[in-house]
């Protein structure tokens, strides 16, 4: 009968489709690693989150323990409120320290949790008090330059504007080389960071 062969083929077709979807979920996607539902949510306020995005990983000691579920802006304190969904299996003390790190020099940003010594544990809906903002590269460099400029006694009084800092640097050849080496070091670090996993 032709009909039963059609049924058979359609059955195989649907089964293949389900298998492919399962394969995508298990092998390609993160269904196995992400336990949907078995999480608790805590919030943390940051003054600057840099390039942090929702669904960014939350890591502790380098292990992924959760994900950023939501990022909001608090208009009263002018801070970013970041909600973290943390796996229920991992319990952290109340005085846990949350900081925003960058994977590699230019990689994605994630939240690192460092456990404190408190006996009380973080509960669902709690707020992490101790936080450290994201490091913004431009800010870091300009701060570094500014500090350098401030250290030199010959430097003229500046109000901290970058252009005058650069003027000051131009007047001082020694500092100029320091800056160059610093930038070179940063450059090289970046290269090695990215280059490390190249070896096949």
């Amino acid at each position: 009968m032709e009909r039963s062969t059609i049924d058979l083929w359609v059955g195989i077709f649907v089964a293949l489709g389900v298998a492919a979807l399962l394969g995508l979920a298990m092998k390609v996607g993160n269904l196995t690693t992400s336990n949907i539902g078995a999480t608790y949510t805590v919030t943390a306020n940051f003054e600057n989150i840099g390039g942090l995005k929702p669904r960014a990983p939350v890591k502790s000691a380098g292990v992924v323990v959760g994900r950023v579920s939501e990022i909001k802006f608090d208009a009263t304190t002018f801070e970013a409120v970041v909600s973290l969904s943390v796996d229920k299996r991992y319990v952290f003390p109340k005085d846990t320290f949350a900081s925003i790190f960058t994977a590699g020099l230019l990689g994605e940003q994630y939240i690192g949790l460092e456990a404190g010594g408190d006996d009380a544990k973080l509960q669902n809906g709690d707020k992490i008090i101790k936080t450290q903002d994201a490091v913004v590269l431009e800010k870091m460099i300009s701060q570094f330059l500014y500090n350098k400029a401030a250290e030199t006694p010959k430097a003229p009084e500046t109000s901290g504007s970058t252009s005058s800092v650069v003027d000051a640097l131009g007047a001082n050849p020694l500092d100029n080389t320091t800056v160059n080496t610093t930038i070179n070091t940063l450059d090289n670090k970046g290269k090695t960071d990215i280059a490390q996993p190249v070896a096949p």
Binding site: F13, L16, A19
Partner: protein
């Protein structure tokens, strides 16, 4: 003399554009109405699922070969191109991420829909157009059997069911094609390939969204194919034009819808 000729030809052109435009609008409305009619008269399909199964065979199973072969090649090409680019940044392990994400989010649903329009959509249009031309639909109506419930609705649901299945297969086979290029051929570490992929491909935001897209494409492609067939003038030329229109319209609609859906998904 010449000026008045220019004027008349300009008026004629304008009128042409106008009538084409209204024609499009009219077709859109008629298509939407047919869509509603099909959904309303889908009871027959629920009562006799065998009707749908038969059409899944013709639209889905018969499209398997083209979908699987294309997916394999697309995956391999993605692997090669991705490696080429990623290598300069020294992150060739990310090849798995690149292949999987581009397949699951975009290429899987979109290419499947385009191939589906070419393979199954044209077949549906031609079949329905010829059934109409040879009075088979009329005959059915005179037998007190609604052609919409008996002929159009099963094809519609079959298309809606087959499309996500084909898209899932496309993604999976494409990833395997990428794996084949990346791991045995280029020598990327298999563990890094899979683990990086798993770390970046999200079950909900990438895979389910991709599947959602392909369901929407399934609805769009099938309804276009059915409408073009049902609306085709009952002549050889009419059916052939309708078949062409199926491919053109489906492709444009799929790409347009893809943009709209993607912008929604990225915002949320």
């Amino acid at each position: 003399m010449i000026r008045s000729k220019l004027l008349t030809s300009a008026i004629r052109t304008l009128r042409n554009i106008g009538s084409r435009f209204t024609e499009r609008i009219w077709r859109m409305g008629a298509g939407a109405r047919l869509f509603g009619l099909i959904v309303v008269s889908s009871g027959e399909c629920l009562r006799r699922p065998r009707l749908v199964v038969r059409e899944v065979y013709f639209t889905g199973v018969m499209s398997l070969i083209i979908i699987l072969v294309s997916a394999f090649f697309v995956g391999m090409v993605l692997g090669l191109q991705g490696y080429n680019t990623l290598q300069t940044y020294g992150s060739s392990e990310a090849i798995g991420v690149l292949v999987a994400l581009s397949l699951v989010r975009e290429l899987g649903p979109v290419i499947t829909a385009l191939l589906f329009a070419g393979r199954a959509g044209t077949a549906i249009t031609a079949e329905i157009g010829l059934m109409k031309a040879t009075e088979q639909l009329s005959a059915m109506e005179m037998m007190a059997v609604s052609p919409i419930a008996r002929v159009l609705a099963p094809r519609f649901w079959a298309g809606v069911i087959a499309m996500p299945i084909l898209a899932a297969l496309f993604c999976m086979v494409g990833v395997l094609g990428g794996y084949l290029v990346a791991v045995p051929l280029i020598g990327v570490d298999a563990g890094a390939f899979w683990s990086q992929m798993q770390a970046s491909v999200d079950w909900q935001h990438d895979i389910l969204n991709g599947m959602f897209k392909s369901v929407v494409f399934g609805v769009a492609c099938t309804i276009i194919a059915i409408f073009e067939g049902y609306d085709a003038p009952p002549t050889a030329e009419g059916v052939s034009r309708a078949t062409t229109r199926t491919v053109v319209t489906s492709s444009l609609v799929v790409l347009g819808l893809d943009f709209i859906l993607t912008s929604f998904m990225i915002n949320i």
